[in-house]
Symmetry: C2
Subunit: 393 residues, 2 copies
């Protein structure tokens, strides 16, 4: 067993209807909450009024900020300067991964006097001291796992665009409230992109060079729930609480495993691609995870020493998602099953190709040169990364 | 998927040699540490000097208290009154489960003005507010998992004896440093009792009525590492870092699963038996877990509806510990394998019977009437509990 570190997970409250009790969780932390949400979905579902009623009952003052699209550093700075002197004691984020990331960054910056740019990895030069306001995350999509991670991704899109993180072990939310009822209205294409993001995170962290027995157990468990729910929630069973709960669990767990085992080359590509082009993060993951898995498995096979751990792990997932038992002597056929199954998901979910978002062959070089291998189980060269991306142009 | 809550885990640092860096972890938390240890084992191994050197290098002031046997409420109160006004900023416990529990209770009581009796479950009437000093746990045995739990067990032995907990979600240690090197010198009979305690905790929380997919994944992972290491660390491979690491991992994980899924009837018996008789907790668990498993499986079979979850889970563990694949149609033979395997472990490890500690047939009634079912997968009557205990008199 290799040495490992694990930086903690949020307190978890998991179950249908739990959002109706979130005010009690807030009350334990303070009397003035800043609620971060998306633009309108909470109103449409009546959940906003429900939350307001609960907060009022507990005499909790409520301020609100709404986010459109992905959070930029300027959005965080503007919000923090608006609310810094207003006595906010708790931050609550209710929304998709972007909203949760925004809330996380805001909770971390309301205790600081400077701009968030100074703490962004690869942009600023300062190290955050970890002090933040109490933070409660309530995801409404099943994908990013941000409710369990220690970083918030902030974006600027365009020629000099970037996606960079503000990160600290102490940024893991205090409490994640996972209520599958909130995901029932998530549209199919969003459920598909988010679900593929969660799957990519689980698979990449499972085969990561930094994986531990602990993250392995979680990642495998997450995939075992995701495998029979991903297609149903995007097609015929979007209103099944059982299926939504399984995806919410998989997503939650993917946040824990990525935060502690790291990710692979698809997430090394997500940052440059997402910075240069306006494309949902889940689509980048969903469209590339099949090609990544194929390329990784092929390269691992070439280097094969007997019983290569990552190859065996790919094979175990292949057996799991195909509903069959894994046998040591069937590593190769089980790896092939995995590749087939992922290709099948991509097709069934109609995950778009990259060209749909204006990405051309002439962009491959820039993208591949800015990409990182992260904790990919095998190191890929720039050319190999270009080949990988070109499969999904 | 049933609703569940998960109250958090410590930050984890896991690996051989990590204890040599514990002073850096302490330094992040404060400049004056109270170290809780057993009576002499740290000195014998040279680890005490090593720790002292590290703390000195970081200019951390060090106070110390030593514990003999299991911690009593009076020990906690005495220690707290000695150190309350001494400016302690961090508590570090280095030792077995008793020492870690003592450290946990002391870190929780140094912030309070009253006696720990007031907060003991079933004894006092007050609820702790969760405020405590930063607390780092370094286990030197692989058994109780206290480094990952939210309660500390305090004991009074004798006719009016008890074992009761002080408990709060926030009592989970800030950091657990798991260094398998510290376990190398643990004697065989202690390794055996502790290892059987860890196994009991993993198995009981796996089949618990409060189990969740999350605790299931952890418990199964813990057992998968324990199964091939329990006997070796107690017999021929006590000096194998690999085997000690596997047991340390299993123990750590057992703490997380018990804190979040609960335990079964053996732990419902451990409290009255341990309060009335002077017997190591691990021996109570180790000597009774086989009988418990047999009785539970028999009763579950009688009640059988097709596909009873707990029975299937017992069968999965049976297959796992026997090194074979689990098949749905082999629930009953796999359950039998589990019973056989546990009986085999008890024999191989020469886990003593209860009569060795002065427990007689005439005590059974008192014991069974004070026992709780906890989260046992099937409710046992007082007579069934008496039968269970009598198997190991």
């Amino acid at each position: 067993m290799n040495p490992f570190a694990f930086s903690g997970i949020p307190g978890i409250v998991f179950g249908p209807g739990e959002f109706r009790r979130v005010h009690r969780t807030i009350k334990e932390m303070g009397d003035h909450v800043l609620v971060v949400t998306g633009v309108s979905s909470l109103e449409r579902s009546g959940k906003w009024d429900e939350l307001g009623g609960g907060l009022e009952k507990e005499s909790i003052r409520c301020s609100r900020v709404t986010l459109q699209g992905e959070p930029s550093p300027d959005f965080v700075d503007d919000t923090v300067s608006r609310f810094r002197d207003r006595g906010i004691q708790v931050v609550l984020a209710v929304g998709g991964g972007s909203v949760v990331d925004a809330g996380k960054a805001i909770s971390a910056m309301l205790t600081q006097e400077t701009s968030v740019y100074e703490f962004l990895e690869g942009i600023g030069n300062r190290t955050h001291n970890g002090e933040r306001l109490p933070f409660v995350a309530v995801p409404t999509t099943s994908g990013t796992g941000s409710e369990a991670t220690k970083n918030a991704v902030l974006s600027k899109v365009g020629p000099h665009g970037f996606k960079k993180s503000i990160r600290h072990d102490r940024f893991v939310p205090d409490v994640a409230v996972i209520d599958p009822e909130l995901m029932l209205s998530c549209p199919p294409e969003v459920s598909a992109a988010c679900g593929m993001d969660a799957f990519t995170q689980l698979l990449e962290s499972y085969v990561s060079t930094q994986a531990s027995p602990f993250t392995d157990a979680m990642a495998y468990s997450g995939i075992s729930f995701l495998k029979d729910s991903l297609i149903p929630v995007c097609t015929t069973e979007g209103e099944s609480i059982e299926k939504r709960a399984a995806m919410a669990y998989a997503s939650l767990v993917s946040g824990m495993t990525l935060a502690n085992a790291g990710l692979g080359v698809v997430h090394g590509l997500a940052s440059p691609i997402g910075g240069l082009f306006s494309i949902p993060h889940g689509v980048v993951c969903g469209t590339l995870v099949g090609a990544e898995t194929r390329v990784n498995i092929e390269k691992l096979r070439k280097q094969e020493q007997d019983g290569h751990t990552a190859l065996t792990k790919y094979a175990k997932v292949g057996a799991l998602v195909s509903g069959r038992e894994f046998r040591e002597e069937e590593v190769h056929p089980c790896c092939d099953l995995l590749i087939e199954r992922i290709d099948g998901w991509i097709e069934a979910l109609a995950i778009p190709r990259l060209s749909r978002y204006g990405i051309r062959a002439s962009d491959l070089d820039t993208i591949a040169r800015s990409a990182g291998n992260k904790n990919n189980p095998v190191a890929l060269s720039v050319d190999e990364i270009k080949d990988l991306v070109s499969m999904r142009l």
